[in-house]
Symmetry: none
Subunit: 151 residues, 2 copies
DNA sequence: TGGGTATATATGGGATATCATGGTTTTATA
DNA sequence: TATAAAACCATGATATCCCATATATACCCA
């Protein structure tokens, strides 16, 4: 397995904890780090999430760049500097840092959307809007999957 | 594990001590030397930091460069000449040498930014500027990760 | 098939441990 | 002996652990 699928909505409790949907946790069960990495999306008011292996992959790609190059620094500052490593508690929850909650305007409920190798976390109303937009986008541009490609 | 992620701001006390964020210490927990290596960045008014293992890797990479090139001299001078090895106290703090504090204009608060294999230490206002700059840099140059997608 | 039981998941709350921070005392050093 | 550095101790805030419970899901057996 290892792919994030489907959508689920969970509650954020007064301490700022949320359960990661169990099927998302199942997708991560094989990994060394039991938790997720979250990152504020630059396109939308939502969070992007993935497993530890994905971060390591990014790190390896960055390592192929020059040591103290500006390009490497720019990418690393935005990608690594803004992502947070959050481990599961015994109940499969994470504690959402304040900054991330604000970025996605999360309060009360959180929508988890599976997108294959990554997932997103949305405030419910914002997600409804996004969903409508994306349907519209698919219609107007007649988007299809690239041949044999990944989303 | 072993990657530096996310951003945290800690206080420098009147003796010049700062806590290294606990998740950074966790990333270094497997290493023989319990502490960090810091040196003044030549690109920015900040400090660059990493664990002991990374110093060795840098040394190896320098060996692959032209022997008496200016570039190698610069790097070698910076990295080996200006680096300071600072060990944790029982509370996970280091004592910042005066010269380094001045280079990064550190006073009061210090921002720790994870960049994967290394991290940086910034004066808060200076980092805000740097953050904007790096986002801009990515956009304008349409930077993507080598051989692969953007996050 | 129906109904009931067991199991897993999501959620809440109190107790406990960790972290960042400040200060005091002891040790090393010049 | 003067000074800086290291070790030690204290504390509030916050994160983590642990237990309880409700609800939903899977499972079993008549």
């Amino acid at each position: 397995m290892g792919l994030f699928l489907s959508t689920a909505v969970n509650k954020i409790d007064r301490k700022g904890r949320v359960s990661i949907p169990s099927h998302f946790r199942a997708a991560l069960s094989g990994q060394s780090f039991q938790g997720v990495v979250l990152f504020p999306s630059h396109h939308y008011a939502c969070l992007e999430g993935f497993g530890w292996d994905y971060i390591e992959e990014i790190s390896q790609r960055l390592d192929t760049m020059d040591f103290f190059s500006n390009e490497q620094d720019d990418l690393a500052t935005t990608i690594f500097g803004e992502s947070v490593q959050l481990s599961f508690d015994n109940e499969g929850r994470i504690l959402l840092p304040q900054g991330l909650r604000e970025h996605a305007a999360l309060d009360g409920d959180a929508v988890f959307v599976g997108l294959g190798r990554k997932f997103q976390v949305w405030e419910p109303a914002a997600f409804e809007q996004r969903k409508a937009e994306s349907r519209q986008g698919i219609k107007s541009k007649a988007l299809t999957l690239p041949k044999g490609g990944v989303v």
